[in-house]
């Protein structure tokens, strides 16, 4: 069983190795692409088989352990794989979405120059390796290592168009912000080792250390899963190609933070204060991101902020004390958000621009893309039959059970807003008058539509597979319709859709406070914080340190050199070669000696 789970790690690793080393293959374009797609599909199949056979509870399947770090003869950390009820479903999600995106990329990236295409698919395979490695990590150290490797892949893939300066800056910004948060994560892992002597996911002993470790680990989560203050890198990450945004910055990578909490649940469970903090941070993120998404003109930026908002949902759900809601929302969100991104990709592919204002009336030209996009939007908004409704509702229910009323209200408001901005996008892009660009828009090739169809299927069906995620609570789907938060969420969603349709569909209802909100948000309060932090904080500090080192510490050293030079000039006078100076010195020397002898002698 465990060998199946290892396929998603070693097969793409082999592909990456082959593509990296044999550059003629990499430069060959399509063959390299097909190799990578084949390995992605194979890993997906293997993951599904592993998932079906995964032990629901009890002893997790452990495999392929070789020790990595050694300490005084004993091994303290090893590399291995652990397949259990938590890692199996995540593996499926990762590999499935990755496979769909890779197939999609065949079409979307077709016009890229051949070496770039090879490079793109090589890094894609590396991403699957890193993500699977993290999902199957048996201990915290391997989790951290793969976590950083995932960050590396995001750096490489965001910066795929490295000749575009904005892409370069976005890639670097992503790494800076995530690694800034990883300071906390690494400290947490180190503290975990120091207190427990190992890197296991649970912490026996006093809860004080557990709270601290949990808090530190949560810092890492905030960075990678773009919680409010540290979410600034996500919108810029849209500089990468759309399939990358779909895979990394919508479905899998950003969910790594949430998965960390789920994976290390025993630690977080023993740290209630951290959990309450999570609910609040999650709720606030959900609301703020939803508002920001409302005013974006770039279709990918809207989806990016929407992901940010949904991540807030998941973190809030985890904060309630049971990881089931968060985890379930993570999987369903992965499916429909990936679908939305791919659909957005094919829209961009069709009209050649991201800007919503230049789109319109695409429904007629690209029926399938429009249909799939709308299906995804409805799933995201939480309309019943689709999976979004079930997972979002479960989150709200958990918030209610945990009596976290504040975050519950915020999340409900966010739910309404989500429906509102998704409908805005649908109206601006697909309905309404056709803009100049949409006239010559053309439907995307089947190789792009097929994966979108597969994702649409899962987005619709995922709601009913509640039974296999983390615990064996088999909740019947109809159970949700009757719960209070479920009904409230549904009403809000429908209201949001109606309002948005009226405003953007028919153009009535001007205002609604959106422009005021737009002005404030576009000023980028949080982003400005970071930019100022760099321009007024870190760079001048570095400048001062550099100046001090070059001219003060180094200056002091040169002072000795200067003193030597000047000193030697003074001494030169003594050997002027002039006769009389010499005699004078002779006399004075003799005088001193004689005086010393005389005075000494007499005494």
């Amino acid at each position: 069983m465990i060998e199946l789970a290892m396929v998603p790690v070693f097969l793409p690793l082999a592909t990456f190795g082959v593509l990296a080393v044999l550059w003629p293959l990499r430069h060959s374009g399509m063959p390299a692409a097909w190799l990578s797609v084949a390995s992605a599909l194979a890993s997906c199949v293997a993951a599904i088989l592993a998932w079906t056979g995964a032990p629901v509870a009890g002893e997790p399947a452990q495999g392929m352990v070789f020790d990595w770090l050694v300490h005084d003869g004993k091994t303290i950390a090893e590399v291995g794989f652990r397949l259990d009820a938590i890692s199996a479903p995540m593996l499926v999600v990762v590999t499935f979405v990755a496979a769909c995106v890779q197939v999609y990329s065949l079409g979307y990236m077709a016009h890229e120059p051949r070496p770039a295409l090879g490079r793109y698919f090589a890094w894609h395979s590396l991403f699957i390796v890193a993500m699977s490695g993290m999902v199957l990590a048996p201990n915290m150290l391997q989790f951290l290592a793969c976590w950083e490797l995932v960050g590396l892949c995001s750096y490489l893939l965001i910066g795929f168009y490295w000749d575009k300066p904005s892409a370069g800056r976005a890639a670097v910004k992503a790494v800076w912000v995530t690694r800034f948060a990883d300071i906390g994560l690494m400290s947490g892992v180190v503290l975990l080792y120091v207190t427990t002597g190992g890197f296991a996911f649970e912490m026996t002993g006093d809860s004080g250390a557990a709270t601290l470790v949990a808090a530190l680990l949560f810092c890492g989560v905030m960075g990678k899963s773009a919680q409010v203050p540290l979410h600034v890198w996500l919108p810029d990450a849209m500089e990468g190609p759309t399939p990358v945004s779909a895979l990394l910055h919508a479905a899998t990578m950003v969910a790594a933070g949430v998965f960390l909490v789920v994976r290390a649940w025993p630690i977080f469970e023993a740290a209630p204060p951290v959990l309450t903090a999570m609910t609040w941070i999650g709720a606030v993120t959900a609301l703020v991101a939803a508002c920001t998404a409302l005013v974006q003109h770039d279709i990918k930026k809207v989806l990016a902020y929407s992901t940010c908002s949904q991540l807030g949902y998941m973190v809030a759900a985890l904060g309630t004390g049971s990881f089931f809601g968060g985890y379930f929302h993570l999987t369903t969100h992965a499916f429909f958000k990936a679908l939305l991104f791919l659909a957005a990709g094919s829209v961009i592919h069709a009209v050649g621009t991201n800007d919503l204002r230049e789109m319109g009336g695409l429904a007629k030209k690209t029926k399938l893309t429009a249909g799939l996009f709308i299906l995804g939007a409805l799933a995201l908004a939480g309309v019943p039959p689709l999976s979004g409704f079930f997972s979002k509702d479960l989150v709200l229910e958990e918030l209610l059970h945990a009596h976290a009323y504040g975050p519950l209200l915020i999340c409900l408001a966010a739910a309404g807003l989500t429906a509102f901005y998704m409908t805005r996008v649908v109206c601006m892009a697909f309905l309404g008058p056709a803009s100049a660009r949409s006239l010559e828009a053309h439907e995307s090739p089947p190789v792009m539509l097929l994966p979108m169809g597969a994702l649409a299927l899962t987005a619709a069906v995922a709601g009913f597979t509640t039974g296999r995620f983390g615990n064996d609570v088999a909740l019947a789907p109809w159970h949700f319709a009757v719960t209070a938060p479920g009904v409230a969420a549904l009403l809000l969603a429908l209201g949001g859709i109606a309002l948005a349709y009226m405003k953007y569909g028919q153009g009535k209802l001007a205002g609604l406070g959106v422009p005021a909100l737009a002005a404030f948000i576009r000023s980028g309060p949080v982003d400005g914080l970071f930019v100022r932090g760099w321009q007024q904080g870190l760079r001048p500090l570095a400048g001062v340190v550099g100046w001090v080192d070059r001219y003060v510490v180094d200056g002091a050293v040169n002072l000795f050199g200067w003193a030597a030079l000047v000193g030697s000039e003074r001494m030169r006078v003594l050997q002027s070669g002039k006769l009389r100076d010499a005699t004078y010195l002779l006399v004075m020397g003799a005088l001193v000696v004689v005086a010393w002898g005389a005075i000494g002698g007499v005494r």
Binding site: Y584, V587, M588, L591, V594, A595, A598, V602
Partner: protein, 166 residues
């Protein structure tokens, strides 16, 4: 009592001529003042009952060295340029040095508590000096002649004007 007066007179003469040697700008006059000073010293030797030595002084010093000096001055005198001011930039330092030396010697002499009264046997006569020179000091005496010879040869070798064809 007359010894004191004579001593003071001759001592004063010596000191004044010594100072004049140092102070006069013109070289020839300086040499002449030196001669005066040496003659005065010879007088002092006489006062110390060292008649033979006074004679030697007069003969060797004033006769030999002064004439040699005059020759040298004439030889090296370069055309009409005026005798450059003999004094150098910082006489102050030199003065302090000399006074310091004088003070030091005076201090040591005063402290040393030498026997003030002349020893027994008065001052040695020339005969006794001759016996000493050829007695215990015979070797240095002979060595002295070799030294004088060497000095002469050296001086000639140094100052000889090179023959053009060499």
């Amino acid at each position: 009592m007359t010894a004191w007066i004579l001593f003071v007179l001759v001592a004063f003469g010596t000191l004044v001529s010594a100072v004049m040697v140092v102070r006069t700008a013109d070289l020839v006059r300086a040499v002449l003042w030196l001669a005066a000073s040496l003659v005065a010293t010879a007088g002092l030797y006489a006062l110390l009952d060292a008649g033979f030595l006074a004679a030697m002084q007069l003969l060797l010093y004033t006769g030999g060295i002064i004439t040699l000096m005059l020759f040298a001055v004439m030889l090296v005198r370069r055309g009409p340029e005026a005798p450059t001011a003999g004094l150098i930039a910082n006489p102050g330092r030199a003065l302090t040095a000399s006074l310091a030396v004088f003070g030091l010697v005076a201090f040591t002499v005063a402290e040393a508590g030498l026997p003030t009264e002349p020893g027994a046997g008065g001052s040695p006569s020339a005969k006794l000096l001759g016996q000493v020179l050829l007695g215990p000091l015979a070797l240095p005496f002979e060595a002295l002649s070799v030294l004088l010879l060497a000095a002469m040869v050296g001086a000639i070798a140094l100052a000889r004007r090179k023959d053009p064809e060499e």
